[in-house]
Symmetry: C3
Amino acid sequence: MNNPQLNKHGELQHLLSTEGLPLPILRGILDKAASFVDIGDRLEIRNVPLLKGKSVFNVFFENSTRTRTTFEIAAKRLSADVVNLNIGSSSTSKGETLLDTVDNLCAMHADMFVVRHSQSGAAHFIARHVAPEIHVINAGDGRHAHPTQALLDMFTIRHYKKEFHNLRVAIVGDVLHSRVARSQIHALTTLGVPEVRVIAPKTLLPTLVENLGVQVYHDMSQGLRDVDVVLMLRLQNERMQGAALPSAQEYFKYYGLTEEKLACAKPDAIVMHPGPMNRGIEIESSVADGKHSVILPQVTFGIAVRMAVMSMLAGVKV
Amino acid sequence: MNNPQLNKHGELQHLLSTEGLPLPILRGILDKAASFVDIGDRLEIRNVPLLKGKSVFNVFFENSTRTRTTFEIAAKRLSADVVNLNIGSSSTSKGETLLDTVDNLCAMHADMFVVRHSQSGAAHFIARHVAPEIHVINAGDGRHAHPTQALLDMFTIRHYKKEFHNLRVAIVGDVLHSRVARSQIHALTTLGVPEVRVIAPKTLLPTLVENLGVQVYHDMSQGLRDVDVVLMLRLQNERMQGAALPSAQEYFKYYGLTEEKLACAKPDAIVMHPGPMNRGIEIESSVADGKHSVILPQVTFGIAVRMAVMSMLAGVKV
Amino acid sequence: MNNPQLNKHGELQHLLSTEGLPLPILRGILDKAASFVDIGDRLEIRNVPLLKGKSVFNVFFENSTRTRTTFEIAAKRLSADVVNLNIGSSSTSKGETLLDTVDNLCAMHADMFVVRHSQSGAAHFIARHVAPEIHVINAGDGRHAHPTQALLDMFTIRHYKKEFHNLRVAIVGDVLHSRVARSQIHALTTLGVPEVRVIAPKTLLPTLVENLGVQVYHDMSQGLRDVDVVLMLRLQNERMQGAALPSAQEYFKYYGLTEEKLACAKPDAIVMHPGPMNRGIEIESSVADGKHSVILPQVTFGIAVRMAVMSMLAGVKV
């Protein structure tokens, strides 16, 4: 089967999903990101000219200041020209089709699209239609995938744990609606993590989630037992207003990560969260700010990982 | 009479309208744009330093992500600093006059204003008031003018047809509300196109449109007969909801460009559209994507034409 | 007492308020700004590389296109990478705390935050929490302070009046709700202006305003008598709709600056306004555009002052 992310030489042409991302490419991104973390630390002037003269379009059909900002910074540190397009408030409201919008942006000689869309599959759809010299990065599509988030999570895990083959990782929370969780599971599996757990109430789990190769827990103290890594998910407010959950308080009681529950994990476990956090709902403040938390390093590494993806794509020859 | 677009040496000081734009300047813009199209094709690094250290302000009193983006890209490829101002949501709502807003932006040492405004004449008004070292580009004012759109249309026609003196051109659709149509008619006339037609229902034509030097048709198959170029206009949704039109379906039946109607034109006719398109209303999808369509090259050429205008203005000595 | 704006070497670490800003630093900013005014006048290419490779984040929790633009231009003239974040419409609406938002932006390796917030004290709060290599500039916090506005006002006064020690300055209007007025009073006092007056109805004055070292007037012709500088304040529309004011017309009658009232001031008095102006409410058009007005030079100097503050902060060693 054709892998839509790779060109005919097996190089990364688009980053759409961690599903089907070959291990050497995944490792290559993490290695390249490590070189940019060094740059961030060492140099007075941090910009590198790898994307000089290239145009990166942040095409956000769904608003997300935080994600857009991380891509914007990454692109500017690579010396690209960055154009931000908040499409939600623009052409689509004028009756233009998604494909016409994309064709138009291509015709402006974009080199790279960073796409956020509320519909699952939108980034794949766009990637199928762009000219071969244009690269697409999925910055989150519906419930489907958020690959750069998963990649920065993998970078963070490797940074603190060095190896993947001996880890026990738990993903906690609203797996059902989470593109982050899907992307994490695929990346962890590819990197050889032997045991991936998901911990959630039944109402927040996809049917047949076991088929993704994970073990299912409904109880936090059981699910967190002896894990090395805890990946918390964001609980979206709109879910709490729906029928899926009784109340924020009750959710916190059963699935909020507290110091007490975290004590079930290994003593050197790390706690991660993709942000923005709901303190007191999915995570206790003392845990978010505590010694196990690597939530802020995740953000820093996220810039480096996005720089790595962009520079790898820009280095591909047509 | 004083031409508000020219300085005392007859050089382009502002680009406000294709009306009154002297033929040598119009040709000069197209020639300069051609050089930038070469740059876009040839070089690995496409940016040129012609506007280095200059500040281009995109001052949009009316939202238009697409047009703003094309100017932003053009300015960045010229190495300008670009500042985007969405004024609609800002100072004017604080009771400031248009002139005070403009004076303030001038005092920030802008070098160039790209102005979009819902009122006809706004760009002229601003151009009359700015200091002599500041240049104004009209990016669309009310129903009046959209000169860079018309210039990129001329560039596209010249690209495919080489000459203007032997062409028959039809403009189809809502001429009444269209700043694009007005700008196209003036540019075509200046470039020596011997026969310009407009095709529209009476309700979508300005009174005395013949005085612009065009021939009026109400029937598509007659109006398109033996034309070399078909310039489609966008039908704005708000018009369709008004009394001017019976329904989108009926409009498409009589004035939508279908393959059948297009067969009346010359076999090598080209079809253009300023975007965004309403497929199935003013244009059939198979035509928009067909072999006569040069709609996407228009967009590419639009960047080059805007670069040409900006660099010509920046080269003017005060 | 610890001055939150200074580092342990007594250098400017953050610009939060003109209150407590030591005289040598205040003068240093004005002197540095003077050098940038020269650059703006003299050079063809105005950009200087002082912030090359640095990331300036415009973090606006409250929308202000004008203020954001002046900081964006200043940062770009210093060759910084600028990222605009309109936070109001983003993370805070997702339930994230202010501190989490700030921590996240810090983790993206920002070098400088320009912060606008509707809550008094927000910039101080943020400055207390950021890492030592990050600098915070207050771009307006609630009713508290707007130091760069006051500094550009001081620059303008010095430009036209050369000295401060012999001046009589009047601040006119809604002092109660004005962060600009507070910042002006502290700066004028620090610079040694012997007589600062405030002119306003009782309902628009803070209680115990005299404690700030100003003389209070309720009558314009008395308050303006023999002053060298008139600092008008903006009357915000929302105040006029409240109970604080009878009507815009009545306000203009008593406190609007007219040519007639201005005749009470010295013949060479200068008139200033932070913008945007409400013509016919707080100021007569003929005064705003008249020979005493230095309102537009204020804007030009504002860019230079912001460049001065940013480059001074960037020059601080951790």
